[in-house]
């Protein structure tokens, strides 16, 4: 086994053990809840990463799909008393359907038109959440979402939720990794690099982009559904435009078109947000937490200027060239 691979497996094993024992080491529920939120956001950003990194389209409406998933669970469990499995199923199917309907015409739009269309969609969904009357609970939202319950096992404690969320994250991670190495993954990357060239080689770019868009909405909805079960109370605020921007920031910081990027990006941005919550009041005495958005904006700008490919690409490039060396493909890949 080559040395690089051994190191990689050791790293993965260490990270895995770390994640399993984490709830026993952490004495504070506050930190554990942050890790749960990181896991949930990682699902959403993984979806956004597929749209941005593989298909090369920017979406400013990811928080809307996240919200549709969350509201699906909230409405179905509080108004109609659905069980966990059907409610979570609805939380993933509904955003996917919405994405399929709006994706068909919007994905035909080029670059900044698509950005604006998704932005408008996100704002519109947010208005629907806050103006939805009794169904969505209006600006104050819905309370009393029951605990997540699978076959009688009730996820009523944070550590149970932690294992559930990260198990889902790992499953999704493996799924995306397989997708990345499949014909679909290669085709999506071809579209990102040159849509015309991809189509000339027989890739149906419109159909593929739609599939990627629907899959990204599926992941966002899944994250949203789990989120609603975790916080047991939702209002329109966590699904606003600013949150969509944060998702874009997380995807960009982590590295677009990489598999580890989303988790890394979410971890960094959430950690930064928590750090700023402590630091900003020390520097500016009367400031509240809302000023962290200034720093998010600054980091987004700096990242796009100096490292638009994200932070995890350094690692990916190394492993790619190692792989190429093993198979003697370095020459050809350098030429392309």
């Amino acid at each position: 086994m080559p040395r690089g691979n051994l190191m990689k497996y050791l790293f993965i094993a260490a990270a895995g053990i770390g994640f399993v024992v984490l709830p026993f080491v952490l004495k504070s529920n506050y930190l554990l809840s942050i890790f749960i939120v990181i896991g949930i956001y990682a699902l959403v950003v993984q979806g956004l990463g597929i749209i941005m990194g593989y298909a090369g389209q920017v979406s400013f409406g990811q928080a809307a799909f996240f919200g549709i998933g969350a509201y699906a669970v909230a409405i179905l469990t509080t108004h109609y008393h659905w069980g966990t499995i059907p409610a979570l199923l609805a939380a993933t199917v509904l955003p996917s359907l919405v994405a399929a309907v709006i994706g068909r015409p919007t994905l035909k739009l080029k670059e900044h038109y698509l950005a604006l269309a998704t932005l408008a969609f996100g704002l519109l969904v947010h208005i629907i959440f806050s103006e939805g009357g009794e169904l969505t609970g209006g600006p104050s939202g819905l309370t009393g979402i029951p605990y997540l319950n699978i076959g009688g096992f009730v996820f009523n404690r944070d550590y149970k939720f932690y294992y559930l969320v990260w198990a889902v994250v790992v499953l999704v991670f493996l799924g995306v990794r397989n997708l990345d190495r499949s014909r679909i993954g290669r085709s999506l990357r071809a579209i990102r690099d040159s849509e015309v060239a991809a189509e000339a080689n027989g890739i149906n770019s419109a159909a593929l982009k739609l599939k990627a868009f629907v899959f990204s909405a599926f992941l966002a909805g899944l994250g949203g559904g789990i989120y609603a079960y975790y916080v047991t109370f939702i209002s329109p605020a966590p699904f606003s435009f600013n949150i969509s921007i944060q998702f874009v920031l997380m995807a960009v910081i982590g590295g677009l078109g990489t598999i580890c990027g989303p988790v890394l990006g979410v971890g960094l941005v959430v950690a930064l947000g928590e750090a700023l919550r402590w630091l900003v009041p020390l520097v500016i005495p009367h400031a509240g937490g809302e000023y962290q958005i200034i720093f998010f904006g600054l980091i987004l700008v700096l990242a796009m200027i100096f490292k638009p490919e994200g932070l995890s690409t350094g690692w990916r490039k190394i492993t790619d060239s190692e792989k190429a060396e093993e198979t003697g493909l370095l020459e050809t890949s350098a030429n392309t």
Binding site: P105, T106, H112, A120, F241, I294, V301
Partner: protein
């Protein structure tokens, strides 16, 4: 009937502001190919700066000009610091950068001015004018005047001056313009400075009617986009028509259906136009280079 006429005048006032913002967006887009998502923040900055200067004892005209100059400086700085360094980047990169700048400016405005609304007095005293039975605010006349002066000025600049011709050449074919010795980077800087000035002027003129808040820019910038897209993103005349049309639609939508839906009107119009006629209502489809 009087009510509809009243709606029409209110809509045209609001629409003139949207048209001014759309003009700035279209100018920037034509020269640089960038959609400046921070355009609305220029409006907010100009308005808030003018309020602060006015309450610090400056006369209204002095506060206006200083606010416009200050915002122009912000626009110029933005171009030098974050737009110029990534001039060869993809559209997605530049749009994310301008969004980043916009949330930064909004956050800083919140830090400086807080959440309270600020106001300016109307530019001229006196009650509303009666036009065909509808009451028209004198400030509305000022807003129409600003739009007319801006459009005339922009037209004269484009047709009569060397730099105006350089801009038009750059719009038609950037590479050819470059080969003829036109420096596109100076044009890009100019575009952002003019955007700052236009945005700030629009912000100061609308403040006596709507008040100024730190977050007014987001919604105004978005309306400017919708106006620009209704008209066709690269069409100056279209931006003006689009702005006026959107203003009227919004006021009628809010007045006749529900005021809670005022913001939804623009979003729905945007989505409909993007889906049915992404080139704008008076735009023409042009071929795409690969």
């Amino acid at each position: 009937m009087d009510l509809y006429l009243q709606f029409l005048f209110s809509g045209l006032t609001l629409g003139s502001i949207y048209a001014l913002i759309a003009l700035a967006l279209v100018t920037t887009y034509n020269i640089t190919g960038i959609l400046n998502m921070a355009q609305g923040e220029f409006v907010a900055l100009g308005a808030l700066a003018a309020c602060t200067l006015y309450s610090a004892g400056f006369s209204l005209p002095a506060a206006f000009f200083l606010a416009v100059i200050a915002t122009a400086v912000v626009g110029g700085l933005m171009e030098r610091l974050v737009i110029n360094p990534v001039r060869n980047a993809s559209n997605i990169t530049s749009i994310i950068i301008t969004i980043g700048v916009s949330i930064m400016i909004r956050g800083l405005a919140l830090l400086i001015w807080g959440t309270n609304p600020y106001s300016l007095p109307a530019f001229t005293e006196g009650g509303p004018l009666k036009v065909l039975g509808a009451a028209v605010n004198t400030q509305s006349i000022w807003v129409f005047g600003l739009l007319i002066v801006t459009v005339t000025g922009l037209f004269a600049f484009m047709e009569k001056t060397y730099w105006g011709k350089a801009v038009r050449a750059c719009v038609i074919n950037r590479m050819a313009a470059k080969l003829m010795g036109i420096n596109p980077y100076i044009l890009s800087l100019m575009a952002f400075i003019v955007s700052g000035m236009l945005g700030a002027a629009a912000g100061v003129f609308i403040t006596p009617i709507t008040l100024a808040t730190y977050d007014m820019g987001f919604s105004l910038g978005l309306k400017g986009f919708v106006a620009a897209i209704i008209g066709g993103i690269n069409n100056v005349g279209g931006a003006i028509i689009g702005g006026l049309l959107l203003g009227v639609l919004e006021i009628f939508g809010a007045g006749l259906i529900s005021s809670g839906l005022k913001d939804a009107v623009a979003l729905i119009v945007l989505i409909i136009v993007l889906l049915l006629r992404p080139q704008g209502i008076i735009g023409v489809v042009s071929g795409r280079k690969v």
